[in-house]
Symmetry: C2
């Protein structure tokens, strides 16, 4: 294959450009001499490549660096605000949109709350409008938009980018690409929500340069994106990472999936809220009794109560955390990752419970993999999937495997 | 990088040869014209490569194939009995040795039973003698031996091939390569036992051409080798696959690792035997009462009793299988693999319990990944690690990543 590709000079030209572009991205600022040294390409060849990248507008010269003997070298970096990428995170109760420049800097974002799970057509319509509005607010036209990534809470066919099934949205066999009207000519990509978050952590979050990690999204449901060997691991049918259905208590509550004691039934935001409501109904002593209608108790109320020293609320969060610790222990033993990042709504109360999770892992996981793993709360939180979706067109530009 | 490598013609020559060699291996018999068509290399270039491989003795012409219009093409195949590879599986109670030819055919094998966990030096000495003996019996000299692979029940540093820790053998920081005396000049490789079995299933077993699979070894302990995207997944510290420590019963027995209800404590061969002995001591009705000394009850006795219709014995195996099903369910949901192969001592009683395991997965795993996974008993069984170890030098020859 190498020989066949080498005969195709256009392929190699593009490949070399994308490698150099990515080196400039990961090094932040780098000279042509350093690029030559890293790639083994001649100074002449590197001159041609960087001139092409400057001509396309992706990079620019940004002053001189430190001299290593001779002239002070001219440093190259990605050109901020040159090109952009949009990310849309669509869920049952919101549509989040972000606009990011080529360097990963977020320049605009929008969020629409949904009261009821929206129809597919409505979401697409609103998503297109959000992208157009963000572009307008930044005074940008479509030519500056590299692409749009869509994050969906469901199963996506990674080849066709069709949504196979998004159960909570009740979407089946939905084709976003075919449904775009205003943005139909912009390259678009569709990705599972948990995998989008993992892409985000890997590109701009806590897992850049981390080959093996698991990014667990905790909200109404629980799912994960898994990276192995530096690449997103999708599994055979694209459903890898369903850690919300790791059974952590064989005698636990029945899950929607049919099994009992799935992590989701005892540690999701929804299960935390349901448990709080149940306990209040049962008359437990708690500041949450101030709610006239238990249905008004939400995750924020439980967290606030816990922060104010409410023992019942604290116990609810601690119990959920203990179960997360059991599932994380399984992942540590099975996958021996460098990092496990806990994100989405979890970041709202991470400071209250992260030590409980770490304690369970330390106590229950095998010594060696436990010593090598860092269990951390995401620093990005609830926007991770929208950001991850926006990163997908950038990965395409930098010629990464999706 | 591509450009740098392309400038190194020796690298490309070796690379092209290994690609062609592997195509000949995987296609069993193939013509030069077909090889040209697959690789995109010219007939002349392919002639040079295949002549070189014939000259080295790896392949030979084996008659003519079917004509597709013109002359009947000369077919090439790996040359059986041209070169060999040895595999050694070392454990607490045995040393297994196999000698395999370049095609994967086993030409000799030996096994020594050990009554007590042997010292490192003794095992190395005996292993060397076994290899020499197998070569002698086949009338082969060292020049025909491509290399030796060692399978170890413990943690191996995949870069240095040193044994970090093999707890049951009480070996720590042991260096097989440095300890070889007779075979010191032969390339040697050291691999974890479960990963060796997975390598075997991938090369000559049920998982050739399967990208994502888990090979679970069930014997006195339980461990797994995981393949993702066609490659062995080692994890960050090389300990990925410790599925024996997936917790399947929070209130279960205490495990050596400190956790409770690990799969190993309720589904390993040892736990099956211990449970049988305990029940007999408690006076349960069973044909196993024929043993004057319960300590004489071993796995084979429990299996034989079960086959003879002994209900107590059957319940013990069924219960172990149910727990295996729970752990397999976790793996199916988390990794979405195409296959889960259960091997080693499990193959002795697989026919009795495999349907129970499949039933648990069908009932408890998520629908989509459950439909895409095949849960099967290995067809190789207890020799899988020795065979996998022998395959490692072949993978090196065919330029696969280890």
């Amino acid at each position: 294959m190498a020989a066949k590709r080498a005969g195709n000079s256009k392929f190699l030209k593009e490949y070399n450009e994308s490698v150099v572009l990515d080196l400039i991205r990961t090094n932040k600022a780098i000279s042509k001499a350093e690029l030559s040294s890293i790639t083994g390409l001649s100074a002449t060849a590197m001159g041609v490549i960087t001139a092409s990248l400057i001509g396309k507008g992706y990079i620019h010269e940004m002053g001189t660096g430190e001299s290593k003997g001779g002239r002070r070298p001219i440093m190259l970096e990605l050109k901020p605000d040159s090109f952009y990428s949009a990310g849309i995170d669509m869920d049952t109760d919101y549509i989040k949109a972000v606009l990011m420049d080529i360097t990963g800097k977020v320049v605009n974002n929008k969020c629409i709350d949904m009261l009821v799970p929206p129809s597919f057509d409505l979401v697409i319509k609103k998503a297109e409008k959000l992208v157009v509005k963000m572009l307008e607010e930044q005074s940008l036209d479509f030519s500056k938009l590299l692409g749009i990534g869509f994050s969906v809470p469901g199963m996506v066919d990674s080849l066709t980018h069709k949504i196979v099934l998004a159960p909570n949205l009740e979407w089946e066999n939905a084709d976003i690409r075919q449904s775009l009207t205003i943005l139909g000519d912009i390259p678009s990509y569709v990705e599972n929500e948990s995998m989008s978050s993992a892409i985000c952590e890997n590109w701009i979050g806590l897992c850049s340069n981390v080959g093996n990690f698991v990014c667990i999204n905790i909200k109404s449901g629980i799912g994960a994106g898994i990276f192995t060997g530096g690449k997103l691991y999708r599994g055979t049918g694209g459903t890898a990472g369903e850690v919300g259905h790791i059974s952590v208590d064989e005698n636990g509550p029945k899950c929607g999936c049919g099994n009992y004691g799935c992590l989701e039934t005892v540690a999701s935001s929804r299960s935390i809220v349901e448990r709080a409501r149940r306990l209040i109904k049962q008359g437990v002593v708690s500041s949450l009794n101030r709610f006239d209608d238990v249905e008004e108790i939400d995750l924020d109320a439980v967290i606030d109560a816990s922060r104010s020293g409410d023992e019942a609320a604290r116990n609810i969060l601690n119990e959920a955390a203990r179960y997360i610790g059991i599932a994380v222990t399984n992942l540590v033993n099975t996958l021996n990752p460098s990092k496990i990042v806990l994100g989405k709504e979890f970041v709202k109360y991470a400071d209250l419970v992260i030590d409980i999770i770490k304690g369970v892992v330390e106590c229950k996981a095998l010594k060696d993999p436990a010593e090598r793993v860092e269990v951390v709360a995401s620093e990005i939180g609830e926007s991770a999937s929208a950001l991850g979706a926006a990163i997908i067109p950038l990965k395409v530009l930098f010629k990464y495997t999706l």
